[in-house]
């Protein structure tokens, strides 16, 4: 018979792992930004929808 479900494809491990690392790095970068973000600035941003009241 023939192979039905491919568990591996050449180079896929590196391919997917790289993408996952990109996501993790990006997520860490955004998290770091948020940790050190200026609270006053964020407060200003969160008020934007209420400004035209």
């Amino acid at each position: 018979m023939f192979k039905q479900f491919i568990s591996k494809i050449p180079g896929a491990d590196t391919y997917m792992a790289t993408s996952f690392v990109i996501f993790a790095a990006f997520f860490a970068l955004v998290s770091l930004y948020l940790i050190f973000a200026d609270k006053k600035h964020l407060q200003h941003l969160s008020q934007l929808p209420l400004e035209d009241e």
């Binding site: 192979k3 391919y15 997520f27 973000a37 200026d38 200003h44 969160s46 934007l48 929808p49």
Partner: protein, 737 residues
Amino acid sequence: MNVSSERPATTITPDRAKLGQPLSVPPTDGAGLPEHFAYDNRIVRDFGIATIIWGIIGMVVGVLIASQLFAPVANLGSQYTTFGRIRPLHTNAVIFAFVGNAIFMGVYYSLQRLCKARMFSDLLSKVHFWGWQLIIVAAVATLPLGMTTSHEYAELEWPIDIAITVIWVIFGINMFGTIIKRRERHLYVAIWFYIATFVTVAVLHIVNSFEMPVSLFKSYYVYAGVQDALVQWWYGHNAVAFFLTTPYLGMMYYFLPKMAGRPIYSYKLSILHFWALIFIYIWAGPHHLLYNSVPDWAQSLGVVFSIMLIAPSWGGMINGLLTLRGAWDKVREDAILKFMVVGLTAYGMATFEGPMLALKNVNAIAHFTDWIVAHVHVGALGWNGFLTFAILYWLIPRMYKTPLYSKKLLNAHFWIGTLGILFYAIPMYISGFLQGMMWKQFTPEGLLKYPNFLETTLQLLPLHMMRAFGGVLYLTGAIMMAYNLFKTMAAGTLVANEPAEAPALAAVFVPTGQDTYWHRWIERKPMPLLVGSLVVILIGTMVELIPTFMVKSNVPTIASVKPYTALEVEGRDLYIREGCVNCHSQMVRPFRSETERYGEYSKAGEFVYDHPFLWGSKRTGPDLHRVGGKYPNAWHFHHMHEPVSMSPGSIMPPYPWLLTQKLDVELTTKKLLALRSVGVPYEDETIANASADMQTQAKTISADLAANGIKVQPDREIVALIAYLQRLGTDIKKIAP
């Protein structure tokens, strides 16, 4: 449009004010003299009315198709109103007409105010509005006629696909034009969601619409089988993400603070869950194809990212619900906020349930059943429907400067709508679980307990009746809303051009302090935000799709699988026209319960010539992948003519027109050429002899029917359909042991 009479007296020339163009004031970053301009409320109102009307139409069709599933007479005896043809009408009407118009209503209202600028171009706004309505009318006209690509939620044929692209680009130009001429330096998070929506829907729509036209209203996808399935569910899953979710999160981030009179709970959380959501969502598409003939690694990828998706999804829900902290007294009294709370709760439930359904053990039971229908409708009725209702109730009185006509009706709508959701979802959950378990149940002797598929369908009819009742309740609520809002409009006058003022931005912005941070930079720049969103969604897209296209071994070929004959191609197109895929799958999963019932499980290599794939997503009737050779031709003839004659109690509608309508063979050669151009290896000789071969095969079937006492001309549609059905899943049986 009389704009000058509705604007306060100023020294601004009306035309410039109308367009919101900057005046000759010193360009400073919010510190200059105020500029006077007017928000365009008319376009918001127009999209609002379209939302209400199309919403009701979509829901009426929904109730009709729900009734067809327990009372076949509701198919109305016409080929234009059978379930297979109008189920796509329902999904297209509620997704693209109801939700689509609601998105544009919410975006056009909030974007102007968040940018402190009128929409970029009134003309583009109008072209967008009327273009979108024309597309919907085209859908209403073509789908009942059987003009469909059969890709779920992307059924419209190629000329309409092109029109959608053009109108979507017009929407994008109008949106980015407004953002560019804004008077607020920073882009509020709602706008990020709108930008991500725009760019991702554009990518999804274009990639999922690569079709080879045969005629004005017939085409074949360039993808086949496994690739086509992966593209379709990459699209389908992300249409839910970027059409039903991200624009609504954007609207939630604008309208909920307005309604509650307080800012969003955590702006930090909104940023974090925005990036995480758009990054992760795009990967999860293959969870629609678990245990199907797609590569194992793609299925696992879909499962992992679906589980990860809980975090950013719940980030949005929690952020919304916590915005109401300390304001729950308002919720008790304000039905608009009640709609928002139930909508957010439904979002939370659906986005928890989605990842659970992506677990293979749960999916094994839930897939192809009513469970998925329940899941989808918790999101659609609760999240999209209730948020839309809340925004309409909030917007219309404000734009007409008059109180809502009836708060009692508003309250009644909330309760009847909530009851409608419960009556819809609970029976469907029970039905789905029951159905999934019955399919899998064996006797102690090791035989299927319910070998006749119909037996499992008939058990569900009372639950389907309750579901339809739930739909009627929900529809009644929507009609009450329409009455309430139209009375409100009649009592007030539309402020078509709402006066506003804001100082212009400085022409050159000099960042200082934390303004130099990279994310602060992206918050000010729409284009990098667009590019960033695009890169993020393309990473997942490439990982999901490229290996399947690039690596040949991902789809093992089977030597005995051959292209369909000309008559079978025509029969397959009839199968597509009648929307058989809406009730019948062509995918036998590798479970004993399925191989016992249907035969050998489906292999990826069996679908290499299937443009499009027809695996389906719901089994109202049995799977058909191994139906070829299972019954004699005469059985199919009688079954299509009157299903109950072969399957007593069947809820399948009769298809008598197939017996009388002559098969249209005008395009047969063009069809084979088109299929060859997308990779089906038809020889020149096959194409040249298509007509003769077709007649020979049709005569053989006709003669067999005649031998069984059925007189039918070989040139009738039923003959081609039988040819296709008898071919299904048989190639693999030709392999020598």
